[in-house]
């Protein structure tokens, strides 16, 4: 089969890889219906995360189950499934508390920009849809695997809800889907922070009521202006840099909540400022599995259309162009057809 492999910063190649096989009796093999490039794939692509050996890329996936190991009970060949980028048993105490991304038996899933994928802990990781969905729903289901699940977790962590003003730092797919999640959770006002016109438009489509184009201290001042000088009740951080984290914390009112899901890079949080801010801080790799059943229903019922974040569709063998387009911010998110 073919799959995308990162050899060095900026050097993604689509090449022949071994087809995955069942290794443990809890594994499943799926034939991917669609794959995509994640904002977090850009960290190693840009050389910010070290690349020490060729690395099969991709951790977002939907597809048809081809084969399951002897212990798999909840999914069977022929079903269309969505899974999380972290495999979990979904039975341990941490999973049962809703933190499947920190499952005591967790395993990362990798190499999903390919034709086939092995998913460990299939029973605890995969959720089947009712029927094999029509093609137009596939992109939406694919977002549930990571960017929608992550934006949703951020909105939940930020306690977005009725009567709340929610600010969103970051206009990538996760931030934009954080807007969608905040709207679904009933937020009254949603302020998207973006200076890109096409992303602003998508934010509005997803439910943003206000757009702030300023960043850093000026962005914080604008959020304060819009909230009687107090700051937002809920702030979603979907970037992962020092500037974005501080912008999020400073945009939040005392007693408010920051949901941070941008993969932190080089961030150091000043303890005294955090102490004085009275914000609640919560985040991390999203426990996507917690939200999958609900998200799958919302997508299947066409109540949300998160697939709109894909503004570039390429055949899998053109994955390098998907990386380039996202790196240069020409595309929000690239879908790859295996």
């Amino acid at each position: 089969m073919i799959g995308a492999v990162l050899h060095a910063p900026g050097d993604v190649r689509v090449e022949e890889r071994d087809e995955p096989r069942i290794v443990a009796p809890t594994d499943a093999i799926i034939r991917l219906s669609a794959a995509c490039v994640c904002g977090s794939d850009l960290w190693p692509y840009r050389g910010i995360d070290k690349v020490t050996e060729p690395r099969p890329m991709g951790h977002e996936y939907v597809g048809i189950v081809e084969e399951v190991g002897g212990d798999v009970r909840t999914v069977r060949p022929g079903q269309f499934v969505v899974g999380s980028f972290i495999a979990s048993d979904n039975t341990c105490e941490i999973c049962r508390s809703g933190y499947q991304a920190a499952c005591v038996h967790r395993v990362g899933v990798g190499g999903a920009q390919a034709q086939y994928l092995r998913v460990p802990l299939a029973d605890g990781t995969l959720v089947a849809t009712g029927d094999v969905p029509s093609d137009d729903l596939v992109p939406g289901f694919l977002t549930a695997s990571d960017v929608l699940g992550t934006g949703w977790f951020a909105a939940v962590a930020a306690e977005a809800g009725p009567g709340r003003t929610v600010a969103v730092v970051g206009d990538g797919a996760v931030g934009l889907l954080g807007v969608l999640a905040a709207r679904q959770l009933g937020a009254e006002r949603i302020i998207a922070m973006s200076r890109h016109e096409s992303r602003q438009q998508l934010a509005r489509d997803f439910g943003a009521t206000d757009i702030v184009t300023e960043r850093g201290d000026e962005g914080v001042a604008r959020i304060k202006d819009l909230t009687n000088g107090l700051g937002a009740h809920s702030v979603i951080e979907a970037v992962g840099t020092q500037e974005a984290m501080m912008q999020a914390i400073r945009s939040t009112r005392p007693g408010g909540h920051v949901g941070f899901v941008g993969v932190n890079h080089g961030v150091q949080l000043p303890g005294r400022e955090l102490f004085s801010s009275h914000v609640h801080l919560h985040g991390g790799p999203a426990p996507v599995r917690r939200f999958l059943p609900e998200l799958i229903d919302l997508i299947a019922d066409r109540r949300i259309d998160p697939g709109k974040v894909f503004d570039l569709v390429l055949p899998l063998d053109q994955a390098p162009e998907g990386y380039r387009a996202m790196d240069e911010r020409r595309a929000i998110k690239a879908l790859l057809r295996p």
Copy 2:
């Protein structure tokens, strides 16, 4: 009148000070029934917080109202009152959300190690007890002004409650009263981290079920041992140093809650570790006013006895000995009789 004034690190003097007068119509003057030395007073006493000019000390207080300004409606002369170390209007949006320590009109209260004290924003800051209490209840009410209110906030921020295992980092008065709060909130298991026998005993009196004497990484390992390798559900941080903050974060299970109330000094939190930890982080200067009515009832009904944290009682003019005893950890907390 006399009051304690810090002139330089280690140099506290009890000297003649001007008696406070009503300045604003929202002020009240109270005659202090008892005063005390706070663990946070040790930061400037030890020279870690700079002392640039003579500073009247003390921010914990209970007493009899002597006089009120023309706009004060809820307290009157002759009443016994308890107040917070931060004066608040208790009417702004932030106060109404329970964050009176971040009131938009907040003012610090200072100079309470004295005979009389001016309290700004009296209506929003002071709570009167039903009757003037008997002498033996006065120390308990005094703790409500800060250390009990702070320990209680930490336990609430850490979401201590039924079925939860709570670990407490810090065996000063705040940490010990965090144990008491966790017990009152219904925690199943409470692990006090202390290597001082008298403090361990008081922790047990307040409801601790386990004592851990190790610190840092070893302390974290012990908490993990006691919690099936997962960490505590709720951790109270009541110190404010880098070591204590990291010990608290690392002792918490994924999805668990850290309530941090030690005044942060030089703390830098590594963003990536916080991201990976999946903990909830919340804290800051306690909104004591939120809890005062409830705490006053618990103390008046003798359902809790937080006054036991005072293991040294001195006349006000011996305040310097109170500071020394606490600095040398000979005393948990010194009560001063004006």
